[in-house]
Symmetry: C2
Subunit: 389 residues, 2 copies
């Protein structure tokens, strides 16, 4: 088995930890962020560009690839790594979340979930076993069980029922998974209810998965609630395995989650907002479309080492974005992903140096998060719009 | 003066010639094709990518850059080369053609042309002197005079009047141009009337421009008519100067124009059709969206040396294009531009080897041009849609 987490250092003041995760496609230093490649491409970028910004692992999506082009096509072409020419690690999500967020129909039975393709409206049926089979066909290094997501407003009973079926499906996934060059993680559910989160973590831990994801967060709930759910969950997960919060990717949330013992993140946020012109710096987000950049003869961030900042003025990127030129989306995507991946490097280095607590303090002193209400509105607008990643 | 054309070889069977054009930003081997960077970007590509496919000269556009971001902005940022980080040669068009094709208003007087911005509707006034001043601000290596374009249906009288004002404006541009590190070409007009083309070529030659463009072609007229207009014009242009047919870029037209003594081409065609999924090969154009590519485990063109064909299966590019993923547009753009630039290299090599006539024959035997009526319809649809490049 090629999947192994070696913990290199633990922060003495927080629960942050630095590790090295061995996968079938290279080593992943943790804490790590996974750029999102739902449709077998991190939007706008080539594999070489991903590599050049420091990517070691990406996340792709079974729901999207099953519907288009179809897993058989990818399998026959040698699997997902070969198909998209990415030689680093890949985690594939089962598609559970996309079924619930993208499909115009979603009917859950004990056996599985019936849904409609958001592309052609065709009716589809997915079982836990089928989700594993599809992911074995894709050949990612880490795969996820089919789970049932609930909204952040779900009451205790709804969340409990969803959690319980998620558990039974997790067992079925565990039994049906066969490929030895890939590993299966468990996904903790339980909505925003601490006792359910504990129950879910304890049940899944008993099945001995290779790693543990925390699902159903970062869906529009208040940040404090999200962070407390992470705390309530992590304490019941084994120290020796990866803890992965699904769908979480804002810089401030990453820093706080690492402090609570989380190792792995993925989110379309850095790339999605990049295509709207929002660019990250250690002071927060700014929009490159703003008139203040119109004649600015400096990089977006003079301290940034990304391709965009090393080569182009903010005025040029501003111009391209105003013109809706496709190169604009590449340049801001590169910048934002590099910002997040460099942040992960800085976090990890500070854990190794035993300075994470002061790094966290300094980061929080400078970084101005997007206004909470704006953030929640944006997220909910996005969820409604059924975008693909 | 850094602008000099050295003819290296002339074809013994046709009027094709191979040369080396020295510019302020490097040597351009001719015959040459210029990718189109109307808004200071060849759509989807970085300067490094342009370089890697063999680009030595690009064409940009004064109309677009004057309206957005404004020439002063670019000038203050060090000029167009610095702004877009392109260190090769740049030719800037005056914007005459765009005024006539994109503006919702276009009123010509002896003094200049009044038009409306297609972006914000603002009224603009452009004179020949202003067109030169703007291009001096941009700092391209080759600049073009303001001219008056007529449609391919124009009668003799309309075409003659447009030509005559083009001539007077060319003289004014010639007088007002001052920068010594850039050169001004003349633009032959005259519609589809051979005697006007001759008159225009002779008049402009008398002003001794550094090179000669042939404008007002490839606008929807029949190919035979276009080629005969090129013949009628080229014979009256000096052998020692560049002949440049503006807006011509289909592979079959390039080969036939080279045979008639043309040295320089530009067209948005290879990049525009790429974004619609059309990919070139020596057999013609195919659309990568076609179901035949769905599971094809081979490059788009196994004989192609471009980044796309060296790295990805046709099935992957097909998938990206079907998903409307932005990477698709990059990959097809790279492929098509590399196809055209490699065609230019093959043409040039065959002229140097004295085998151009057989190369031309072989090319025409294999290459299936896009159906004439489809082509004309597409072009006219595009002209109507007022797209930006």
């Amino acid at each position: 088995m090629s999947h192994k987490l070696e913990l290199v250092n633990n922060c003495s003041k927080t629960d942050a930890r630095a590790g090295m995760l061995a996968t079938s496609h290279g080593m992943v230093n943790t804490p790590a962020f996974m750029p999102v490649a739902s449709q077998a491409t991190v939007k706008t970028l080539t594999p070489e560009e991903l590599d050049s910004i420091g990517t070691t692992i990406i996340v792709s999506n079974t729901y999207h690839l099953h519907l288009r082009p179809g897993v058989d096509i990818i399998k026959n072409l040698g699997g997902l790594h070969e198909f998209m020419r990415w030689n680093g690690a890949i985690l594939t999500d089962s598609g559970g979340y996309q079924v619930f967020s993208l499909s115009p129909l979603c009917k859950i039975t004990e056996e599985g979930v019936t849904f409609r393709s958001h592309i052609d409206g065709s009716e589809q049926f997915l079982t836990p076993e089928k989700a594993v089979e599809l992911q074995e066909g894709l050949g990612g290094d880490i795969i996820m069980p089919l789970d049932v997501c609930v909204t952040c407003e779900s009451d205790h009973r709804t969340a409990k029922e969803a959690m319980e079926i998620t558990h039974r499906w997790a067992s079925r996934c565990h039994c049906s998974h066969q490929r030895t060059d890939q590993v299966l993680y468990g996904i903790v559910q339980g909505g925003l209810h601490a006792n359910l989160r504990r129950e879910s973590a304890q049940f899944l831990t008993s099945l001995e998965f290779s790693g543990y994801a925390i699902g159903g967060l970062s869906l529009g709930e208040q940040k404090e609630v999200m962070l407390s759910m992470i705390e309530e969950t992590v304490q019941f997960l084994p120290k020796s395995k990866i803890r992965y919060v699904m769908g979480l990717g804002s810089p401030e949330d990453i820093v706080e989650s690492v402090a609570r013992g989380v190792d792995l993140f993925d989110s379309a946020l850095p790339t999605r907002v990049a295509r709207n012109g929002a660019v990250f710096s250690m002071y927060g987000r700014q929009n490159i479309r703003n008139a203040s950049f119109k004649s600015k003869d400096e990089p977006i961030d003079p301290n940034c080492d990304c391709y965009t900042c090393r080569n182009f003025s903010a005025a040029y990127v501003h111009h391209l974005m105003r013109c809706e030129e496709l190169l604009a989306y590449r340049l801001t995507t590169i910048h934002n992903l590099r910002f997040v991946l460099r942040l992960m490097e800085q976090i990890r280095q500070s854990i190794l140096n035993n300075t994470f607590a002061s790094f966290r303090q300094e980061f929080n002193d400078h970084y101005q998060p997007t206004n909470e209400q704006v953030r929640v509105d944006q997220k909910q607008k996005w969820l409604r719009s059924h975008r693909s990643s």
